[in-house]
Amino acid sequence: MLGVLRGMAETFRTMVRKPVTIQYPTAHRELPERERGYPLLLWDAEVGEPFCTGCHACERACPTECISVIMKDNPLAAEGQSKRRKIVDQFLLDYGRCIRCRICVETCNFSAIAMNNTWSGHEMSRYDRRELVMDLEQLLARSRDGGFTPWVAP
């Protein structure tokens, strides 16, 4: 009998406490800076080109093989504006396949790829799976527009 009453008292006590949930789509939890959303490519604003040289390191390291990269000769390097001899031509990343393991970020020698640590890196629902294959423009957009600071491992 006592245990039953103790349980009733416990539920009553919690009832008067503040709720711990929030209304998710209208209210967002604050994400930690290390949050691993889907990966993005970074934009080198000084030169005006992506950091990525298309070196395939991430493509090899990816456990799910969701990255495809094609490299090209950098036109800006020929003009002398950039030190990068080669640059990424096409970069396709299948978000539907990506498991956000961050191995690509770890592998990258040029710090050209980073995990999206904002909510836009999570809320990715689409009606068609093929829309989840991101191309270079889509991957670079956030970084080029500013307002995205990647977290760099200490």
């Binding site: 395939h56 090899r60 799910t64 799976r129 294959v133």
Partner: protein
């Protein structure tokens, strides 16, 4: 796939120091030949497959060994060298453990079932049987455990059963340029491979 020049290497056999559990086994079963090796954690004993049941029974019942606990039972496919069944045993009273191994030829993978010794071996053997095609003779209920009941034509964990090719969604968008995926221009191998040799496209890694 490992680089071709490496090839699979067998671990060297380092005999364990005297006084380990290998000696207890030899004492309990003087007629049976044990090949003992000191692993990084446990002592490993390799026995002939015809002795398996006797050794396991003795291991469980012998008061000196008292290996009452079957931790794990698994198979390993060593390709030409045959299949291997590994038993991990542990004793609560003495606090020692041992790895028992036995090799089976690939064309005749039969070994006595341990289900009569440990009840827990039942499911583990069913799993090993379906994954490697090993026949555990005398198993009470030899039906697949994890795989569908009708999937008897191939054994997934054998090395001759590679992974299926990955279906790449992002590849279809590349069009004609898809042929260039994974192609590393000369002079960039050191960056791409992180000091390693260039490998084939990642899709081939199933071998």
């Amino acid at each position: 796939m490992t680089a071709p020049h490496e090839g699979p290497q067998e671990a060297p056999i380092v005999p364990p120091e005297p006084g380990t559990i290998a000696d207890l086994f030899r004492e309990a079963l003087p007629d049976i030949e044990f090949v003992a090796s000191q692993g990084p954690v446990d002592v490993m004993l390799t026995i002939d497959r015809k002795d398996v049941l006797q050794v396991l029974r003795t291991a469980k019942d012998d008061p000196q060994l008292d290996l009452k606990y079957l931790r794990c039972l698994l198979g390993v496919d060593h390709e030409e060298a045959g299949l291997e069944v590994v038993y991990q045993l542990y004793s609560f009273t003495h606090g020692h453990g041992v790895t028992l191994k036995t090799r089976l030829p690939q064309d005749d993978p039969r070994v006595a079932s341990a289900a009569s010794v440990w009840k827990g071996a039942d499911w583990l053997e069913r799993e090993t049987a379906e994954m490697f095609g090993i026949v555990f003779e005398g198993h009470p209920n030899p039906v697949p455990l994890l795989l569908p009941d009708d999937m008897t034509d191939h054994h997934p964990l054998r090395k001759d059963n590679p992974l299926a090719q990955v279906e790449e969604w992002q590849g279809s968008r590349l069009g004609a340029a898809a042929a260039n995926v994974g192609h590393v221009p000369a002079g960039y191998e050191s960056i791409a491979g992180e000091g390693g040799e260039p490998e084939g496209p990642s899709g081939e890694s199933g071998g």
